[in-house]
């Protein structure tokens, strides 16, 4: 498969069309998947920033860091980049260890967290082989200034609900948090924030159960790899290497 298999201008349109088709199906008939083309990622971290903005992530919470790796020796040096959202594993170790059934695998493939049930034991954080979960300790960016700014208290809309940061005790503060594939956007027919902001169109999103979808085609690429496949977690997020 070529480096870029789809004409650039067609990519977004096709993913939007895929999304609309998937949303017409019952929830258990679609399976959301993300494909990241490492050969196209330039490491700009626009996705990381967009994710922080979209989900109103506080200091210390990150859903999609981009890990840089330097390969080779001068003068034959190159960099490779690994954006790391949640893998939305089909066999998620985080779900298995949760003592309160506060996290589960949805029929559409998303691993969801019920922030109001999570006790904050952080067992899931330790159990995730990708460090995809982070702990919300309740920090604000304007901590240490005369006033915590109102924009920091605005709600995030994860899992289609409102999660305001009115005080330091209420969820999602004190919880484990992770990437949701922006399911609150997806269910309204909008692509995840990381996908729409990617300057190189290196992140693809869609319904892997739909053979006509772009992601389903890309998943058939010989370049398709999963992260730490040997862990047996069956990640949904796939990389093109």
């Amino acid at each position: 498969m070529a480096l870029i298999d789809v004409e650039r201008h067609e990519i977004r349109q096709q993913m939007m069309d895929d999304l609309q088709r998937a949303l017409k199906k019952p929830m258990n008939k679609r399976h959301w998947a993300m494909v990241i083309d490492q050969a196209k990622c330039v490491g700009c971290t626009a996705c990381t920033t967009a994710c922080v903005a979209e989900n109103h992530l506080p200091p210390g919470v990150v859903y999609r860091p981009v890990i840089e790796e330097e390969v080779g020796k001068y003068p034959n040096v190159r960099k490779s980049f690994l954006p790391r959202p949640c893998m939305q594993c089909d066999d998620p170790p985080c779900v298995k260890v949760c003592p309160a059934h506060a996290t589960w695998k949805r029929p559409d493939g998303i691993v969801e967290i019920n922030y109001n049930r999570c006790i904050g034991c952080r067992y899931c954080i330790g159990a995730c082989p990708y460090s995809a979960r982070t702990f919300d300790k309740g920090f604000f960016y304007t901590d240490g200034t005369p006033e915590i700014m109102d924009y920091e208290k605005e709600p995030s809309f994860e899992y289609g609900k409102e999660w305001p940061r009115k005080n330091r005790e209420s969820s999602p503060i004190g919880n484990a948090r992770k990437c949701t594939y922006c399911i609150h956007r997806v269910e309204k027919g909008i692509l995840p924030a990381c996908v729409t902001t990617c300057i190189g169109d290196a992140t693809y999103f869609g319904d892997r159960n739909d053979p006509k979808s772009l992601v389903a085609k890309l998943l058939g690429s010989p370049r398709a790899r999963k992260l730490k496949e040997e862990e047996g977690t069956k990640p949904t997020t796939t990389y093109l290497v």
Binding site: T48, P59, G60, V61, V62, P65, V66, I67, E68, E69, L82, R84, P93, K96, V97, C98, P99, A100, H101, A102, R117, C118, I119, G120, C121, R122, Y123, I125, G126, A127, C128, P129, Y130, S131, R133, T134, F135, D136, K137, G138, F139, R168, E169, S171, I173, G174, N175, A176, L227, E231
Partner: protein, 421 residues
């Protein structure tokens, strides 16, 4: 000497309770923000203290079964003390892990929304059962003496005894024999329960495939042996200081017997440790090697070499070999030295627990992750903060005070057996 130590423990516990209150105030008012654990090292000092105390509790409890199940005659009078020590340590363990939760008020969700795939849910079930067993066992072990104190005692002890005897008035020999029969049954139920819950704590770590340092089938066994060694050592020290005032020979006999058990357990625990280190260091995989290298020659090398190896193994083993293993003069007083060696084992065992919890988490699961995004808690180093230490000091002092007050007010050691200080 013993009364001086008792006063010293009271003073330390009261100071610890007072100073620790500030830590508790910070914990309640600032949540987790002043703690150093975070996203990449999610478990810290409080988890280490939790497994430390739960081990002490399980070890103490299992030794109490020597009295109530195996009916070893020479230990007869320390059964209640062993149970009460196990109870105090259980409270400290539960408080430690409760402090660690991001949402302390939701702790009930572990039982309300139980997930039988999660070892932590099992902990909830097993601790509740263990808590129940220990309370019922303590009551039957104390019932006869409570009834007696309610009849003949004075002041606060009498009132408390009357309240806690729950209307029971029969302190005849036949009733006490019936209590002992019930204690035997409870003890028999308690043994597999104690093995299950402490082996279960080992399994709680052992099942985490993502952390190879924890992910070994030997984890539950290591935890159990560690629990027996540390809990047995604590109980031996407690028996010497708070135990019944026996004749010198009898006390010597008890202390040597317990000292030998502790010696064997410490050596067996150390054997398991050597095995873990040798196999782990043979590996070239960073996830296997890094935690062990950090333990042996990382920033906190002294936690292993000085606190654990020197004060927790070498010195106690030498003392116990010299004093607890019978030699030419069996009557020579050895209780104090044995108690001191056991106290060293019990106190320094926190180093072992610390080295189980922290180093396993220092290896980035994806190399370079720590440089990808910055923020509080997004790092692979951990140093407990003053707030974390203060909370642990408060929890420890609270449990010690609970023990001291209980020992004063309840017939844990019958008054006629008490030392005349």
């Amino acid at each position: 000497m013993k009364s001086t130590i008792k006063i010293l423990v009271w003073v330390l516990a009261v100071i610890g309770f007072g100073v620790g209150l500030y830590g508790m105030f910070l914990r309640i008012t600032t949540g987790d923000r002043l703690a150093d654990y975070g996203s990449y090292i999610p478990w810290g000092l409080w988890v280490a203290f939790y497994i430390y105390f739960i081990g002490l509790s399980a070890g103490s409890f299992l030794l109490s079964t020597l009295v109530y199940v195996a009916r070893i005659e020479k230990l007869e009078k320390i059964g209640k003390l062993a149970l009460f020590t196990a109870f105090g340590c259980l409270i400290a363990a539960l408080l430690s892990i409760w402090m660690d939760l991001g949402h302390m008020a939701r702790v009930g969700n572990v039982l309300l929304h139980m997930n039988l795939d999660s070892m932590m849910s099992w902990m909830g079930i097993l601790y509740s059962s263990y808590f129940g067993i220990i309370i019922i066992e303590l009551w039957f072990a104390l019932r006869g003496d409570l009834v007696e104190t309610a009849k003949t005692g004075r002041g606060g002890s009498k009132a408390l005894a009357r309240l806690l005897s729950f209307g029971s008035t029969d302190d005849s020999a036949a009733a006490r024999a019936a209590d002992h029969a019930k204690l035997r049954v409870l003890g028999i139920i308690g043994v597999p329960l104690a093995i299950a819950f402490h082996g279960g704590v080992g399994a709680l770590f052992g099942v985490i495939q993502a952390r190879p340092h924890w992910n070994t089938p030997l984890m539950p066994i290591t935890f159990l042996i560690g629990a027996l060694a540390s809990g047995g050592a604590l109980l031996t020290a407690v028996v010497y200081i708070w135990g019944p005032d026996e004749s010198k020979e009898k006390l010597n006999d008890i202390m040597k017997f317990l000292g030998q058990i502790v010696l064997a357990l410490v050596l067996f625990d150390f054997l398991l440790e050597i095995s873990e280190f040798l196999i782990g260091l043979y590996s070239v995989a960073p996830a296997e090697r890094l935690p062990l290298e950090a333990i042996l020659h990382g920033h906190f090398w002294y936690v292993f070499w000085i606190v654990h190896f020197l004060f927790g193994v070498v010195i106690p083993v030498i003392i116990l070999f010299a004093k607890a293993v019978p030699k030419g003069r069996p009557d020579k007083p050895a209780g104090g030295a044995i108690a001191f060696a056991c106290l060293l084992v019990a106190v320094t065992f926190i180093a072992v627990r610390f080295n189980i919890v922290i180093p396993a988490q220092i290896n980035p699961e994806i190399p370079g992750l720590q440089y990808a995004f910055g923020g509080p808690g997004l790092k692979y180093t951990y140093l407990p903060t003053a707030m974390e230490w203060l909370v642990s000091i408060w929890v420890t002092s609270f449990a010690v005070l609970l023990f001291l007050i209980g020992e004063k007010l309840l017939p844990i050691v019958k008054s006629e057996h008490r030392e005349v200080a």
